[in-house]
């Protein structure tokens, strides 16, 4: 693929420039009264209504990697890859249940990150750190995978890929990431929120065009499903078993359901999703969005079908084979072979812009975590809001450089393995975040022990799986009592079991429990259209003081949150 497709590349370049301008322009969008607040940079001032939130959360969840990896999985294994649709269906009712509560408590207490909630709810610095470290670890490879998405597009367009020099080969990627880092640094969450508009218009145009145009050209859906079925039932010489099936086999049903449920629960506790939720203006915005966001799921379903469409195009199959069986190329190749160059350029832009938006949100989420839960917690408890922003901006840069390093220096498979692990890891923070919204029964040290057990088991179990030509980290499912089950979910069950068993034990030995920094009323607080609570250094509110919640809800400023709380009377 030494030939560069000039038209496609030119369109790709124009889209990139447009998005860049929007990104930098976003700094001036809805300027804040007091821009030097972490709320402003890291949560867009907590002022996004239904419309913007829809784009932001959608831009967050459906990443470029999703658009490349899901059809690639369907291309390779058929029905099993469709669990992604199932998961994106089930995620909305699940989030409908939990998210409004989490939003309310975060709003009432001024939390910017899930780590702060865990710390505040259980009065445990260690638990907050556990949630933070898990969040950052899980987010890094996710950002790196966005680069993998961009890379596969560039390979097909004919840019990079062939040069012997690492620097020349990866230069387009480095430039793209430098630019994203620039506007994220300046505009914070406002940048991806605005870019998400462009991203989504591109996505809808591309997907609808592809679904209407390509099937007719390759012989209709009947032919597409027949070709897919023929491929899937043929025997894979590497394993001696069929490649897959057109409908999930009974043996695969349990894996399918646990993957869908586990991924849905994991998605909700990923820091970047929580950042998107926290940025909403009102409680109702979140519920309304859960009814509106499935529009993206429909899109995801259609995108998953791309995998079968690509299978019906001989030129794509040949291209994938030539690239050593890299199914990730199937969708970009399909665009290149089926669309005229100009439209292939638009379709490629979709993937690239679709990578930049979530990469920005993820790095902001990770930066918020670092600032509030590591810098402010351990390094400088008396940090001013201005210092917080400075640290968060730097942290977002470091996250991106780290992710770039990941993507360039390490094997691509390594990023994918880490992302698989990231999903398992992040699921282990569920008891400290989601279940703790409902109950304070868990002992803080039991939660930490459960988290550690889940992390250890999940990592070890994932290491033991083989598949896809890899000896380790080959699959996300492993047999449990004879059924293939999503490892993350098994680890979560173990995590919960440890927590539930240890809680009464720790109470019995009178191990000191943490102080709950939240009030019952926080969980349903809905400071309607009032401005977000503003943190002002020096204002002291007693930690137990009830502040009338008519505008900002009860809110303890950082100085109070970090004051030493009296423990429970022995």
């Amino acid at each position: 693929m030494t030939h560069v497709n000039t038209v496609s590349f030119a369109i790709l370049l124009v889209s990139f420039l447009v998005v860049t301008m929007i990104g930098f322009g976003a700094a001036k969008w809805r300027p804040a009264e007091d821009p030097m607040q972490l709320n402003e940079w890291g949560l867009g001032g907590r002022g996004f209504g239904t419309f913007v939130s829809w784009f932001l959360i959608g831009g967050d969840i459906y990443t470029a990697y999703t658009f490349i990896a899901v059809p690639a999985l369907v291309y390779a294994t058929g029905a099993a890859g469709f669990y992604a649709l199932s998961y994106s269906i089930v995620v909305f009712p699940v989030v409908f249940i939990f998210a409004p509560k989490l939003w309310s408590v975060a709003r009432a207490r001024g939390y910017v990150t899930p780590g702060e909630f865990a710390r505040g709810r259980h009065g445990s610095q260690g638990l907050g750190l556990a949630v933070t470290v898990t969040g950052i670890l899980a987010t890094m490879p996710y950002i790196a995978l966005q680069l993998v998405g961009i890379e596969s597009v560039l390979t097909v367009v004919g840019i990079g890929g062939d040069s012997a020099s690492v620097l020349v080969r990866d230069l387009p990627l480095i430039i793209a990431f430098a630019v994203v880092s620039g506007y994220t640094y300046l505009a914070g969450l406002r940048a991806p929120a605005m870019m998400a508009f462009v991203k989504d218009i591109l996505i809808y145009v591309t997907v609808i065009a592809a679904i209407l145009y390509i099937p007719g050209k390759v012989g209709g859906w009947g032919h597409i499903f027949a070709t897919a079925s023929a491929h899937l039932t043929s025997v894979n010489p590497a394993t001696g078993k069929p490649f897959g099936s057109l409908a999930v086999m009974p043996a695969g049903e349990w894996a399918y359901a646990t993957l869908a449920l586990g991924s849905a629960l994991a998605l909700f506790v990923y820091p970047h999703t929580i950042t998107g939720v926290f940025a909403a203006k009102r409680r109702d915005v979140i519920r309304r969005n859960m009814a509106l966001l499935p529009a993206y799921s429909l899109l995801l379903g259609l995108i998953a079908l791309f995998g079968f469409m690509a299978r019906a195009i001989p030129a794509v199959n040949a291209g994938v084979k030539a690239a050593g069986g890299n199914a990730q190329l199937s969708v970009p190749l399909m665009f290149a072979r089926m669309f005229p160059s100009w439209f292939a350029g638009i379709a490629d832009s979709t993937v690239v812009v679709g990578a930049l938006v979530p990469a920005a949100i993820m790095s902001i989420a990770a930066a918020n975590l670092f600032t509030r839960n590591i810098y402010k917690e351990l390094v400088n408890p008396d940090a001013t809001p201005a210092q917080e922003i400075r640290v968060a901006r730097l942290a977002s840069l470091i996250m991106k450089v780290g992710a770039l390093g990941f993507a360039l220096a390490l094997n691509k498979t390594f990023s994918i393995n880490l992302q698989l692990l990231g999903g398992i890891w992040i699921l282990q923070t569920l008891p400290a975040i989601v279940i703790s919204l409902y109950t304070r029964w868990f002992h803080r040290f039991a939660l930490i022990a459960g988290w550690a057990a889940g992390m250890a088991y999940g990592t070890a179990e994932a290491y033991r799986t083989s598949g896809g030509g890899q000896a380790h980290f080959g699959a996300s499912t492993a047999p449990v009592f004879g059924h293939l089950t999503y490892i993350g979910l098994v680890a979560l069950v173990l995590n919960l079991a440890v927590t539930v068993v240890l809680t009464p034990v720790f109470r019995l030995v009178r191990l000191q429990d943490g102080y709950d920094g939240t009030k019952a009323a926080d969980y349903s607080a809905d400071p309607a259209a009032a401005p977000a609570p503003v943190i002002r250094a020096g204002v002291r509110v007693p930690p137990n003081g009830r502040v009338k919640g008519t505008t900002g809800g009860p809110f303890a400023p950082p100085s109070a949150r970090h004051a030493r709380h009296p423990g429970p009377p022995a």
Binding site: R287, R440, W441, A520, A521
Partner: protein, 96 residues
Amino acid sequence: MAQSARSGKSPATRGVVAVLLIVTITGTLWVPIYARSTPKLGDFPFFYWYQLILVPAVAVLCWICYLLLRAKPGRHAGRPGARPPAGPHHGGGEHR
């Protein structure tokens, strides 16, 4: 589950919301319901068209839940955090 409902909603409303949400979740996660290729809709095997139709169906059900739980306009501004603090699992009262 119904605890996520705003206070001031009747138990019946919360019950309906809980049932609707449970229906959507089981309809998606109970794979044996749709793990087959017939009946076909056009050229689409059942497995695919069921899930594709499930998407708008879940959206509609979530919208109904949202309408059921929606705070009445003009009221939420005056009643922030109106949940009585006596919830059995809420707050740290019992541990203090």
